[in-house]
Symmetry: C4
Subunit: 245 residues, 4 copies
Amino acid sequence: MNNKIRQNFSIKKRLKEIVEREETVAGKVFNLFIMALILLSVISLSVETLPDLDPNILRVLVIFELVVVIIFSIEYLLRIYVADRKPKYIFSFYGIIDLLAIVPFYMAAGIDLRSIRIFRLLRVFRILKFTRYSEAATRLLNVFKMIKAELLIFLLITICIVYIAAVGIYYFESPTQPEIFKSVFHSLWWAVTTITLLGYGDVYPVTIGGRIFTYLVLMVSIAMIAIPTGLIASALSKEIDLEAS
Amino acid sequence: MNNKIRQNFSIKKRLKEIVEREETVAGKVFNLFIMALILLSVISLSVETLPDLDPNILRVLVIFELVVVIIFSIEYLLRIYVADRKPKYIFSFYGIIDLLAIVPFYMAAGIDLRSIRIFRLLRVFRILKFTRYSEAATRLLNVFKMIKAELLIFLLITICIVYIAAVGIYYFESPTQPEIFKSVFHSLWWAVTTITLLGYGDVYPVTIGGRIFTYLVLMVSIAMIAIPTGLIASALSKEIDLEAS
Amino acid sequence: MNNKIRQNFSIKKRLKEIVEREETVAGKVFNLFIMALILLSVISLSVETLPDLDPNILRVLVIFELVVVIIFSIEYLLRIYVADRKPKYIFSFYGIIDLLAIVPFYMAAGIDLRSIRIFRLLRVFRILKFTRYSEAATRLLNVFKMIKAELLIFLLITICIVYIAAVGIYYFESPTQPEIFKSVFHSLWWAVTTITLLGYGDVYPVTIGGRIFTYLVLMVSIAMIAIPTGLIASALSKEIDLEAS
Amino acid sequence: MNNKIRQNFSIKKRLKEIVEREETVAGKVFNLFIMALILLSVISLSVETLPDLDPNILRVLVIFELVVVIIFSIEYLLRIYVADRKPKYIFSFYGIIDLLAIVPFYMAAGIDLRSIRIFRLLRVFRILKFTRYSEAATRLLNVFKMIKAELLIFLLITICIVYIAAVGIYYFESPTQPEIFKSVFHSLWWAVTTITLLGYGDVYPVTIGGRIFTYLVLMVSIAMIAIPTGLIASALSKEIDLEAS
């Protein structure tokens, strides 16, 4: 009995090494295999959307997905099993991503696939798993945590400015281009693509008033680009200093 | 009499707590209510601009705006009443925004609404009130105060460069595209959308000279993006250092 | 005789105070007058390019320009007269700008104006005079001096990358879009508008190879925007530190 | 015999001074000559792609290229000869560039030129040689080495986000614009041009869902621009500090 517990413990320990430790040989092989599988399943998901796809290829892709989901499900259960603090893993960022990567499949099974296709798109979260395998990502995450409050404020101000820009351009342009600047909601599209300096060119002002207003909006746009950059740059400088000391 | 003063004083103190202190329960409720009202009135303002709107909905929106303006007016008077230094509040950034959020309504009342509609758009300033409710915003404001002089110079130089770019492209492109680059004023639109790297694509040079000139302008454009970013980044680094020490 | 020298000396000193010292009342009036004149002449230059301009207005503008050039010429001679080290002023940045602001007029006089019109455009340099009147500009200039070498290298690398991008896209796109990507020179226009993230949308790749190549180019583009920004940000931080210590 | 070795040694030393030392007069002349030749050969390569080129000019360009390749080959062998540690030079960044600048010519000789034309385009690497001649470039290179890990992570995350954006827009837009958003692969083009804020305007969402999704993507885009800029800015600050101390 004592021996069995010890054996169980040893198996769990061994599994833990394979699943959680990437520095051991077994861990390396396991994690590289999972990464390859994630990549392949992501490509497979994209190929499935190709129009005029050969039904045979589609059949292969469907079977491949089945295999992938089974493997990912086992991996997910394994990760819970070997975790020291199970709830911590389940509700962690990666725990949720791991679950989201397999859940859409089970939700779609048995029911009409097409109507739930939207949820299957959540499978793209699988790709985010990549980030787990890198330590350097945490550094960048730390920086974002450091400036979370400022970024939130910035986001709020951006939304306000986008809204004001939309109202302004609606006033200037809707009399001349009533079909394009139909309402404030339609003008929001112009505001978003202009303030981010994207500039698709599908909507743009043609009146003198609208163009002068655009000039003022663009002055603010540059600040909109500059603020998050400045925030990240200064936070990174601090993070590097903290690590050095 | 003494009691009445004391009572008055106590009511004022209580109101002050509700209006100005967001950390008390009553203050929290009051401010969240105002914020919700701002958001709703902003959405209502946008819905009003929708073409082919049901007259019944429009009637509801008009009544809702009346209610909102009354509440905001009471709130504005309350804020003056509880302020320790009344002129300071009235002429502060938020005091002016609070007034601008309600004044357009009174100006429009009794007169034909449609002709004064332009002033009603000033109601969008209401949305700026959001910024009041956050402390983190002041940090960003400090940064802007720190680099005010440099930003002004930068703005001036930008205007100069935009002008020079407009004159230059006018010289190169007006012989080939006389309809688009009609005058220096028309060329300014090209200059603005190019220097900010927006690039709608409604006006662009087609001659070799104009394209080489555009290349030179774009080299300057990158600096135009880089300078405010650099200013904000360095000012933020300093602001963080000041707070730390 | 001695008195006359002393008197001359005193007149020169007085003029020096008016022309070079902006903090005295006379200096303030003089410089504000010159600034207003620069602004007016720049606007006049733009108005002249308007098509279908009333001949009477044009006549007024021509006379106004004559007056402006006379005043600027007197100002230029005055600046040389009061300068302590005359060659230093003449060959300084502002000395050259001051000369360029008036020379085109004299070169055009007597000869056919239309063919020399190009030189008259140099009059836009007049606008640059604005920068003289501000001290904060020198701070930004210092930053640019500090990173001159890096910016030059960056410019050189950018030119290389633009060229490589043009050759690459020419190879991928010229078989499919021979009219747009005619030669490497024609492809340079695409390269410039893409690498700066401008994206007019008049030329863009349509082949799969060209699009994958564009993706790689855009990865570099972001660095192209990031490097000068980073350079300016770090130089500004240093400049601020130097001033503080 | 001893004399001959000494003589050989002296010739090698002299050649080394010419080839590797740019501060001597002979070295300056040699390197400026090579630089001019690189520039000329790059221009010649571009001119060759011009359509309707005079056959005589083409013949001159082909001969010129022959001369250039011979000179560059001699230069390459010389550089190996004078290098203290030959393998180090051959496998260095510049050694590989030097080889790539001449190899395409030898590969094309004797075989049908047109099919191997793609390799000849590698000749553009010749232009990269310019960077060798500058010391300031190493500073920028140091910065990139310092943030290599972060940039790699950033690149990986960018690829993930581009993919997710493509899947998302495919879901929103393919029912409305099936010809433009044919599959996830076709949507990638939209994702790339939007996330980099390029915005050609050849593909853009038209549905409300797609536009709201674009807004979310653009919020991330700004971070995509801000992160590398912040990384470079903070690394540059550190590099400058290291050099100072």
